[in-house]
Symmetry: C2
Subunit: 219 residues, 2 copies
């Protein structure tokens, strides 16, 4: 088994949402698994000096237009959210708590549900009560998740996860790292596929020691 | 005949260079012509509060890597330039002078030669003498071009052209506008092709009055 594909995303990122609808299928096609890493772009932007795309001068109007057109082009459901941008901290923490307590698969399923709620059903995912409902629908104890996500341990973990991501060069959403090769943006999925297809990284990885850490961090 | 496709670019933009190698073929495939618009991102960035990609924190290293990988992915010749970034004002002015005095086709050929010199042959295109050489190779009187490009009239025209571009929503390079539909980035060429293929814009344009302006501005 080769190393996981690291997928970094902020729940307020439309391009991150688009990527979330494709990353697992793409990885499976090449026999890889995905490690989902929620991050907070607000923290990252303090380092890069950037801001959410729709808030930038000139770029804002274009961005909204491009979100719709890109969704249409790729055949992805999308509805412009009413509440935007909004705080995604609790949703990110919930994903970490789920990873710790219910494993990667359920955490990823929850992450997809959050993205879908925000960018298709126009749910205000900054509301903890909405996150609880989404968890309950997946058979997770939503109230336990909400309490766990609000714990000091998870708060610290999210901070540290974002520090690690930035140390690895992550500066946007979606951001994918495969065997040390970084890809920024949903519009790099064609290059990601070419990279996976080449098989080169897989061969290289076979030489490296297997990743046995619980956190499924890239080696 | 339908309206020209407006292609905005800064000579210091690697993605602009990539686009310059494809835009004319793409347009021809759909019976369209291209109007080449040199701009200065330095002026645009004063409005957007941005900076050249390779100079941004975290994004810089990624950008250099992405330039190389994107060139390889698309089969485009590329050599990382030694002098970067560099002033592209004189090159931009030269293109305008050529458009005014020798027409669009020769101006576009010169623009492609400048891009190739910079991103393949590692020529310092900020040096007026290098631009003169590139012009001479195309059968243009390079010294006349150099003098013309330095005239107050052309300086004013470039300023005004950039103002017009920003008023139309242009904020980066490459930037393409087709029948009012804006596309930012070389990675939108797939969506540009889908747009041209749909035929919808062409049908709409047939209703609009023909563009008879000398400057070949979009209607």
């Amino acid at each position: 088994m080769t190393a996981a594909i690291d997928f970094y995303f902020d729940f307020s990122s439309p391009y991150g949402y688009f990527a979330s609808t494709r990353i697992d299928e793409l990885a499976q096609k090449y026999g890889r698994i995905v490690s989902w890493h929620p991050i907070l772009l607000g923290v990252v932007f303090k380092t890069t000096g950037s801001a959410p795309l729709p808030q930038l001068p000139l770029k804002g109007d274009y961005a909204w237009r491009d979100f719709e057109r890109t969704a249409r082009f790729h055949g992805i459901e999308y509805h412009r959210p009413t509440h935007f941008p909004l705080p995604t901290t609790q949703a990110a923490r919930a994903v970490l708590w789920l990873q710790n307590h219910h494993g990667e698969d359920l955490a990823a399923a929850f992450a997809k549900a959050v993205y879908h709620a925000f960018f298709v059903e126009d749910v205000n995912i900054a509301e903890p009560a909405e996150l609880v409902k989404l968890a309950d629908a997946l058979g997770i104890d939503g109230r336990a998740m909400d309490a766990g996500a609000s714990s000091p341990q998870i708060k610290e973990q999210l901070k540290a996860e974002i520090e690690v991501a930035m140390a690895k060069g992550v500066f946007g959403s979606p951001f994918v790292i495969i065997d040390g090769e970084p890809f920024w943006g949903f519009d790099r999925f064609d290059q990601i596929e070419a990279h996976l297809k080449s098989g080169r990284p897989t061969a290289l990885r076979a030489v490296a020691p297997p990743d046995t850490s619980k956190e499924k961090k890239p080696a």
